[in-house]
């Protein structure tokens, strides 16, 4: 477009773009701020600002819960926990490359094993792992 322009023109062009550009990005992000504010008013948890539990980063919430539970009955269920750990570890050792749902089902089967060799409920567990596409 423009090849040989004098300094003043370049500066005008550049400042022009800067104004439009910064204006646009501030406008868009300000709108998003309003959206977030609105969301906060509508959906924010009432239990906010608790000490020591700031963000429910989903990465951990579930594990924490389980960990807490496990910690709670640690002394009571020590034997059972060891058993569970061993089972899980072994099943992972065996199943290896296979994915989570397998490990889950293996443990369930293990639970069943104690009472009955291979129940139909066990089949259902396995079946439910088939995603539908």
């Amino acid at each position: 477009m423009i090849k040989e322009v004098i300094i003043i023109e370049k500066l005008a062009y550049g400042l022009n773009l800067t104004l439009i550009g910064l204006g646009t990005v501030f406008f868009v992000l300000f709108l998003l701020q309003m959206v977030m504010k609105a969301q906060e008013m509508l959906f924010a948890k009432k239990t906010a600002k608790q000490t020591g539990a700031m963000m429910d980063l989903d990465v951990n919430s579930e594990s924490q819960k389980v960990a807490n539970e496990q910690a709670a009955n640690y002394n009571d269920d020590m034997q059972a926990n060891i058993l569970a750990a061993i089972t899980a570890a072994i099943s992972i050792y065996i199943e290896g490359q296979q994915r989570s749902y397998k490990v889950v089902s293996v443990r369930k089967v293990w639970d069943k094993e104690a009472s009955q060799a291979w129940t139909l409920t066990g089949q259902q567990n396995i079946l439910s792992s088939r995603d539908s596409f």
Partner: protein
């Protein structure tokens, strides 16, 4: 037979090797060294450097029509790879810190100042508006955004821009602290920010949908980047399609990264890279990062003033994106000023806002200059 040997020898790369190739091979090896030993953004810089190496071994013709990397490069040329990287980044990103403190999104806008000042600077250094736009996007501190914009506005400059962008992202811990300290008082840096509120899953799910609608309606050219970023995030936050979000955030982004980086590196031929423009781009890139950092910190100071000292201005520096490096730098500088200061999560807000901000600016530059 001697004749054949002579012919074969004529086809070897040695006979075609010039001092320019040797310089480029040296630069490629230097980048490999920096990527591995100094861990300069190795996910991108290592395959970029290897692509650069391969294309500067004469005779391989990997980038000529029909060559191997010629085909890989199609995904850059057609603008497919960067949005796919953004899909994976979306599936890795947690917008909670931003949702917990919405006003910090404006810091992600202020830090785009670097882009525009660099644009003016590039015009004065003699670049055309298109080239200046491509160069200025380095200030977005976001690799895929820079690669997409450069490949549309001026693909001749693509390798230099990509390498500068990733190098400066790696150098954020060196570039930012002096600027952050120069623009703030020790008291400001010592400000402790309150704990962030809990963000509900509902907010996290609605956010990517609304961002897509608002942003794309205002700036349709931002659709590929913002759309894929938000799709990735929606897949993750929805919690019902874990197998898709995991694949987007792992195998798919990894495969695309290999192809993208290798082919961007392979555009760095001696003829294209050993130019004065490259030197200018390196300086402009440094300026862009610095000005962006300053822009973010200055708005941070203003926010600190307006909120009566509830905002630590340092977190503005994270607005340049360079996720998550810039946020870690904020954490470090903040802790130097005050042992009990934990700014990391507060800095993540502007940090992810900066990704959205620079994608918006990219859309704007493409709309105006493309």
């Amino acid at each position: 037979m001697l004749n054949q040997l002579a012919n074969l020898f004529m086809e070897t790369g040695f006979t075609m090797l010039t001092y320019k190739h040797i310089i480029m091979i040296g630069i490629a090896c230097l980048l490999i060294y920096l990527a591995i030993v100094k861990e300069y953004e190795p996910l991108l810089l290592l395959p970029i450097a290897f692509g650069m190496l391969l294309v500067n071994l004469p005779g391989g013709n990997l980038m000529e029509e029909g060559g191997l990397i010629y085909w890989f490069y199609k995904g850059v040329e057609l603008g497919i790879y960067p949005p796919l990287i953004f899909l994976g980044i979306g599936a890795m990103t947690d917008f909670s810190p931003l949702l917990a403190n919405p006003k910090t999104i404006l810091l992600g806008a202020a830090a785009q100042l670097g882009i525009f000042l660099t644009f003016i600077g590039a015009l004065f250094l003699g670049f055309s508006p298109q080239s200046a736009g491509a160069i200025s996007i380095i200030g977005g501190a976001d690799g895929p955004t820079a690669i997409l914009t450069a490949s549309i506005l001026d693909k001749e400059l693509l390798p230099a821009i990509a390498i500068a962008a990733y190098s400066y992202m790696a150098l954020v811990p060196i570039i930012q602290p002096p600027i952050m300290k120069a623009l703030t008082t020790p008291e400001e840096r010592a400000i402790v920010m309150g704990q962030l509120r809990t963000v509900s899953q509902k907010e996290k799910i609605i956010f990517p949908v609304v961002v897509t609608i608002v942003t794309v309606l205002i700036l349709p050219t931002a659709a590929p980047l913002i759309g894929m970023l938000m799709l990735g995030n929606l897949l993750k936050e929805s919690g019902v399609v874990e197998r898709l979000s995991k694949t987007a955030a792992n195998e798919l982004i990894n495969i695309v990264t290999i192809f993208l980086a290798l082919s961007v590196g392979a555009t760095a031929t001696a003829e294209r890279f050993l130019q004065w423009e490259t030197i200018k781009i390196i300086f402009l890139g440094l300026f862009a990062f610095s000005a962006g950092t300053a822009g973010g910190v200055l708005l941070g100071k203003l926010m600190s003033l307006l909120t009566g000292g509830k905002v630590n201005p340092l977190i503005g520096a994270a607005g340049v994106s360079a996720v998550p490096m810039a946020a870690r730098v904020v954490q470090k500088v903040g802790r130097e000023a005050n042992e009990t200061n934990f700014l990391l999560m507060h800095a993540m807000g502007p940090n992810v806002a900066g990704v959205i901000g620079s994608a918006v600016v990219a859309g704007l530059l493409i709309a105006i200059l493309g």
